[in-house]
């Protein structure tokens, strides 16, 4: 049971963004992914979630290959993600944004929806209560009815997480979720991530705040210019001379 990248190579024209990178994300663990700018962290995340196709190696979910599966297929298999710059629907309410995450559970088709058949109402009730609980859970009780374009940065980040969780994911990939948050908000984020882990969700944490990553992760992978330079527990990675040289400094 895992979401894994095996010997992944990805090129953009003449540039090799990733070369033979492997990473395994297990349920119920927080896996930190760190590295300097341009080291390929977001590229790897895009490969795992299906926005890119690998040029070599494979992406596997529970040992079955999904390298060629669309983003949507992977979402339906239980892989959710957030974005470096939150991508919300600005004209919809916070609740609607979170409910969008429930798309895969809305079984009614277009015509059933147009005629408002009982199945549609049942779907809607279930999605609404799930989204509301998640919004209360991540701390957006105060903003449920607000238009998403009125949210401040931290609220947008937590709303993206709520939307991802509304997808009922087995694995959630967070792309720099602490970016732009205050110290107190990063503490809240850490608590939310721990709850995800304890509930059995596998969390991939792409992040620049290394102290935060080391504090919260079970395992950490460090990338530099498209290759893994160290993989291990936070303590092992923190002490690795190569990691210190290229990334942590001093």
């Amino acid at each position: 049971m895992s979401l894994a990248a095996r010997d992944i190579t990805k090129r953009f024209g003449g540039l090799t963004a990733l070369s033979q990178v492997s990473l395994e994300l297990k349920p119920g663990e927080v896996h930190g992914l760190i590295g300097p700018n341009g080291s390929g962290k977001t590229t790897l995340l895009n490969l795992l979630s299906g926005y890119y196709r690998p040029d070599g190696g494979k992406i596997a979910l529970d040992e079955s290959e999904i390298s060629g599966a669309t983003v949507q297929r992977r979402a339906n298999l239980g892989i959710a993600r957030t974005f470096q710059k939150p991508r919300l629907l600005p004209t919809l309410s916070v609740l609607d944004n979170a409910m969008l995450g429930g798309w895969r559970d809305a079984r009614a088709g277009f015509f059933a929806t147009a005629f408002s058949l009982p199945q549609v109402k049942a779907d809607e009730r279930a999605l609404r209560s799930r989204a509301e609980e998640l919004l209360h859970g991540v701390g957006l009780s105060h903003a449920i009815g607000r238009r998403a374009n009125l949210l401040e940065h931290a609220e947008q980040r937590f709303l993206e997480i709520a939307r991802g969780l509304a997808q009922r994911p087995r694995f959630i990939l967070l792309d720099e979720p602490a970016g732009g948050l205050t110290a107190a908000e990063i503490e809240h984020l850490g608590a939310v991530i721990r709850v995800m882990r304890e509930s059995g969700v596998g969390v991939l944490l792409v992040e620049h705040h290394t102290d935060f990553v080391f504090r919260i992760s079970d395992r950490v992978t460090t990338l530099d210019v498209g290759a893994v330079i160290k993989h291990g527990t936070p303590d092992e990675v923190k002490r690795d001379p190569e990691v210190i040289r290229v990334y942590l400094g001093a």
């Binding site: 926005y51 004209t91 991540v138 997808q167 939310v192």
Partner: protein, 335 residues
């Protein structure tokens, strides 16, 4: 059962519209109301494509023409029952929507608009060229509807009922999961993919639906015109449908409905405006795009927001971890 303000206002408006033949005064105004409802049958469906899904179709006049000719040929030339002919017009235009959408909906915005424009121009040429079927430049006379819809009042009520049905259908789509998925396709295709919305299939579905409503509108339009020629379906009409939605506001239903009413009725009711013709549409479009780019619908929303008392606008995120854990575990227990 106590009625909400919203349902009361819907009932009042519906009652007023049903009673229109008695208070409109003359038959011309009744005809105008029927024409507005006919346009709305098309625009209501198109609204899902343009306003919700963000696909800029300016060629729906082509579908309107196909629906109108299909009705005139089936009900007139072949003597098919008009009710069946209306349904056939809808079905044919849904098929045309499918055939047009399959290659063109993968194109990015501007190129898709050009493809729909080309489609509308081709339809005009075909109606001119296929003279033995369409009457060519001379046109076709269109049979009326059978009793009880053969009077101006009866025709109006039938069209009003169809317009109400289309409004209800699109409203249902807009306020449920499908509507959120469409808005996601419009505002962020990347987000739509991330949550599992099949982007192309969603676009194609609403486009086929809008084809159906355009075909039905075409049949009703032909009935109202009673005689159709290729000149009836000028390209400006396609632009007019599009402008009604942009002025009304994307992502709304009431806004584009008001846009349709205002843009159809104003030039007819106020004589000086009629002289201005397209200049009036252009001016109104310019005013809306510059002053309220989000359209009339958004103006209403802002007014409602102003009326509502604002509690302290907190922005503090305070997670409730027990509740979060329960919510995640509930989600994971669903198979």
């Amino acid at each position: 059962m106590p009625l909400s303000n919203k349902s009361i206002s819907i009932l009042v408006v519906m009652a007023a519209l049903i009673a229109l033949p008695w208070w409109a005064g003359d038959l011309y105004k009744l005809h105008l109301a029927a024409l507005i409802c006919t346009y709305w049958v098309l625009i209501g469906g198109l609204n899902l494509v343009v306003g919700y899904c963000g696909q800029l179709s300016i060629g729906h006049v082509g579908l309107l023409a196909i629906g109108a000719y299909c009705f005139a040929i089936l009900a007139g030339t072949h003597g098919l029952h008009p009710g069946l002919a209306i349904a056939a017009s809808g079905a044919l235009c849904a098929l045309c929507g499918l055939l047009l959408g399959l290659p063109s909906l993968r194109l990015p915005g501007f190129y898709f608009a050009m493809a729909t424009l080309a489609f509308a121009l081709i339809v005009t040429e075909i109606t001119l060229a296929q003279g033995n079927l369409t009457g060519g430049g001379v046109g076709l006379s269109v049979p009326g509807l059978p009793a009880p819809f053969d009077t101006p009042q009866g025709t109006y009520w039938l069209i009003l009922a169809i317009a109400a049905l289309v409004t209800w259908l699109t409203w249902n789509v807009a306020r449920h999961t499908w509507g959120r998925g469409l808005v996601a396709v419009r505002d962020s295709a990347v987000t739509a993919q991330a949550v599992g919305v099949p982007v192309f299939r969603a676009k194609l579905t609403v486009f086929v639906f809008s084809g159906f409503t355009a075909g039905v509108a075409g049949a009703l339009f032909a009935v109202l015109q009673s005689y159709i020629t290729p000149d009836t379906f000028v390209f400006e009409l396609g632009l007019f449908f599009f402008v009604c939605i942009i002025i009304g506001g994307r992502g709304h239903i009431l806004g584009p409905a008001i846009g349709t009413i205002v843009l159809t009725a104003l030039p007819e009711m106020v004589a000086p405006l009629a002289k201005l013709g397209n200049f009036f549409y252009g001016l109104l479009l310019l005013a809306v795009v510059l002053l309220v780019p989000e359209g009339i619908g958004r103006v209403f929303e802002i007014l409602i927001e102003r009326l509502r008392p604002r509690r302290g606008e907190s922005h503090v995120v305070k997670p409730d971890l027990d509740r979060l854990a329960r919510a995640i575990e509930n989600g994971r227990s669903i198979l």
